[in-house]
Symmetry: C2
Subunit: 463 residues, 2 copies
């Protein structure tokens, strides 16, 4: 009983502390409408079906990415928004080329084929491939101790796994991704011929996971190829290395970087009724890696963001601020779309109040992370009770999102949708990030959760 009465007290304390207790009922009703509409008359899942199954992987500069620009522009136009347009942005164009090929060669010449995929941005191997001995390390910091003597002419195999006992899988990802991002640049300093990186995946399976890498300031002539190997493949290679430290690894990949090409952010907006020159953005990124359909990363975030504006129209909510959906191009390997959007906003002197990104998969939503001052964060926390019926409970400080990040100096609140993260890295950047891995209800709940937060910040404003 005591717990209940304290909770109830807390509820009223918090509501009254920002003076909105009289609005709580009205907000509950609006949120119920948003959730019900999303779950019974939603469009996000159909859009995702099209993006995944009719268009497919949408790597920046690809035919599919341009197709996705056209499709989403057309769909936004169907919604009867006040304005829909394309924002030009030059993006990098990297292609995988013919499928990679790799095998492990034992000391007796036996060859075992293993699946790899080039990391995004990697150079190709020489046309005959690379065959060399392998040095396994658990991280970048082991290279210096090994030195040129042990690394020159070798393939460096980065095999630090994601830490399984971290509850939030993005933390585990953050603890490993340096191997993928900087592994080649670091290994090149010691004369390595190439690098193989354990996939950023908590599950044991056979999918290699790609993702962005950078050569930093490594001169072009010294750049070495980098590829990912699946978690099963990494464990297998590691176990073989214990038996035969001098085994050979062969790999060949055919990727290529072209000149930058023209692409676009896709933008639509509902003009604000009272504050038309103040902007609130909801978005995801339209590009994806090329190995699958990018259903979770980030088709889900795009269709959820589109759905937010559609839900507002559907339930007849007329926002105070101008609400924009932005489908950013090139999050995966350049962030050009996010940077361009922020540049243009600054150049035009647009006042941005709030931005919410969905780029953590289309799984059951759990809440939000906020990158804002204390006042806005506290304000968001007062809305927790409104979200409780929808099992939305996570309101914490944290990262908003990569694409909205460049707005940071010119905005009150950046926020990120936080879906359940347990399955995310099973699919992330791999060939199984396909439509069937997304659950319709989970996707729709995410869209309604986003719409509810946008509604609340629109109604009560930011500080």
């Amino acid at each position: 009983m005591k717990t209940f009465s304290i909770s109830t007290l807390l509820f009223f304390l918090l509501f009254s502390s920002v003076g909105i207790s009289q609005n709580a009922v009205q907000d509950s009703i609006m949120m119920k409408k948003l959730y019900t509409t999303a779950l019974t008359d939603g469009k996000a899942y159909d859009w995702l079906d099209y993006l995944s199954n009719e268009i497919g992987g949408r790597l920046s500069g690809s035919f599919e990415a341009e197709n996705a620009v056209k499709y989403t522009e057309a769909e936004l136009n169907e919604l009867g928004l006040d304005k829909v347009w394309l924002q030009p942005v030059m993006v990098p164009k990297w292609t995988r080329g013919f499928k990679e090929y790799a095998y492990i060669e034992s000391l007796t010449g036996e060859k075992t084929v293993t699946d790899i995929c080039a990391l995004g941005g990697s150079v190709a191997t020489p046309s005959l491939g690379i065959k060399a001995e392998v040095v396994e390390v658990k991280g970048l910091d082991e290279l210096a101790a090994l030195g040129k003597e042990k690394l020159a002419g070798k393939i460096v195999f980065y095999n630090r796994p994601m830490q399984a006992d971290l509850i939030q899988t993005f933390e585990a990802y953050g603890g490993c991704v340096d191997q993928r991002y900087s592994g080649a640049a670091e290994a090149a300093k010691y004369g390595a011929l190439g690098v193989i990186v354990r996939s950023m995946n908590l599950r044991m399976d056979d999918f290699p996971h790609t993702g962005a890498m950078s050569y930093g300031d490594t001169p072009v002539s010294e750049r070495i190829p980098a590829a990912a190997i699946s978690t099963n493949g990494a464990d297998y290679l590691s176990s073989l290395l214990k038996l035969q430290p001098n085994l050979l690894f062969y790999f060949k990949q055919n990727c290529k970087t072209f000149d930058d090409v023209q692409s676009y952010n896709v933008i639509g907006e509902i003009t604000g009724s009272t504050n038309p020159n103040e902007y609130m953005v909801v978005g995801g990124h339209l590009d994806s890696w090329d190995l699958a359909d990018g259903a979770h990363d980030d088709g889900a975030g795009c269709v959820q963001s589109m759905e937010v504006l559609r839900l507002f129209k559907k339930v007849g909510y007329k926002p105070n601020h101008t609400i924009r959906v932005v489908l950013f191009m090139n999050e995966e390997n350049g962030l050009r779309g996010g940077n361009k959007y922020a540049e243009e906003a600054k150049r035009k002197g647009e006042t941005h109040r709030f931005a919410l990104e969905s780029d953590a998969g289309g799984f059951t939503p759990r809440g939000f992370s906020f990158d804002s001052n204390e006042i806005n964060f506290s304000k968001a926390k007062t809305w927790e009770p409104l979200f409780k019926p929808y099992l939305i409970h996570y309101f914490e400080k944290g990262h908003g999102g990569a694409d909205i990040g460049p707005l940071k100096d010119n905005i009150d609140v950046l926020a990120g949708l936080r879906p359940d993260s347990q399955r995310y890295f099973d699919y992330h950047h791999a060939a199984n990030d396909t439509f069937d891995a997304v659950n319709k209800r989970e996707l729709e709940l995410g869209a309604a959760t986003m719409a509810s937060l946008v509604y609340l910040f629109d109604k009560y404003g930011t500080n």
Copy 2:
């Protein structure tokens, strides 16, 4: 800032209110051990692999169910528990027989085959099957108005869908399952020849979902066969009925009920150090439907429950009370195991303090529902802050679990693990309830969450 300080105040208020603030650090450390061990050195997933892929569907009275009894008994024996035994219980034996067959016949004689499955406990059709016109209804309450005149000699098609805008899918299930459970008994009163029931599934797909049905007090000679049709099949049939209300539906099924057979609950325990004659139970049900492997329902709950005791041994926690794992037989079509366990507990005068069931799938755990008095519920609520790092937030009053339900009059606290429920009915009682639908981390998090609650109730006792 205000929000934070109130939360912090609340935290201390709650902790101090039950006098355990000095223990909070110790509890945090223990819970961290339980979670880390489950995630990095767990056994639940391997057990589930065996139950699903080596044994398979475990319907009461089947060879597979007996196999599962032997396997889990052997595995519990491996854990070095203080006692492991089988508790005999007679269970019903119903078999599906040859696969069902059904088609829709248009007025011009065109036949469209559609997948169905007999409901558990249904009688067979006559050996040549049943062919009749179809009367579609949205629920049991429509039958009286239609009356014998319109229903006699027909097949009744129950087509009320699960309500998509309910956030908790079990509520949507509860709102529809009367069609499956009592549909045949009710339709028989009006002379119907058989019933076809829309699957209890929120997703549109091609899987028919079985589940228990009852004839109530319908005399044996008047019992009519009942089958489920997939959600896609139901929509298809319904749309055809709009075009041709007099189309015919044919179905044939070959199920049979045998005499009851001997089976067992599988029980293991760690003897309590200070209260050995007071029992705390953690369990799931070992039987499953026959169409798939029962990975989520309820292989997951069984292996999680086994894992609780294994985790205690592994981290060196010596419980005060005697902690029992009970793998109940026959939850799906009889609840004989749950009833037997409670009867025996009563007969022996065993004092049961607490029971926790996991029977809602192996998905990401969100929290617990509690069936207890206010004091025990309030006590559990004080532990919410301990669970927050694990994103466990749901502490509400509600149902414990079917198998532990019969203990109700003789126990302080019944509790149910509440995993995320969005995907559950995609798999429930259908051919896709297989191992690959279970995520290893989600399963393990559930086990650790259960172990943590058992630990806390064991340490602080019930009231």
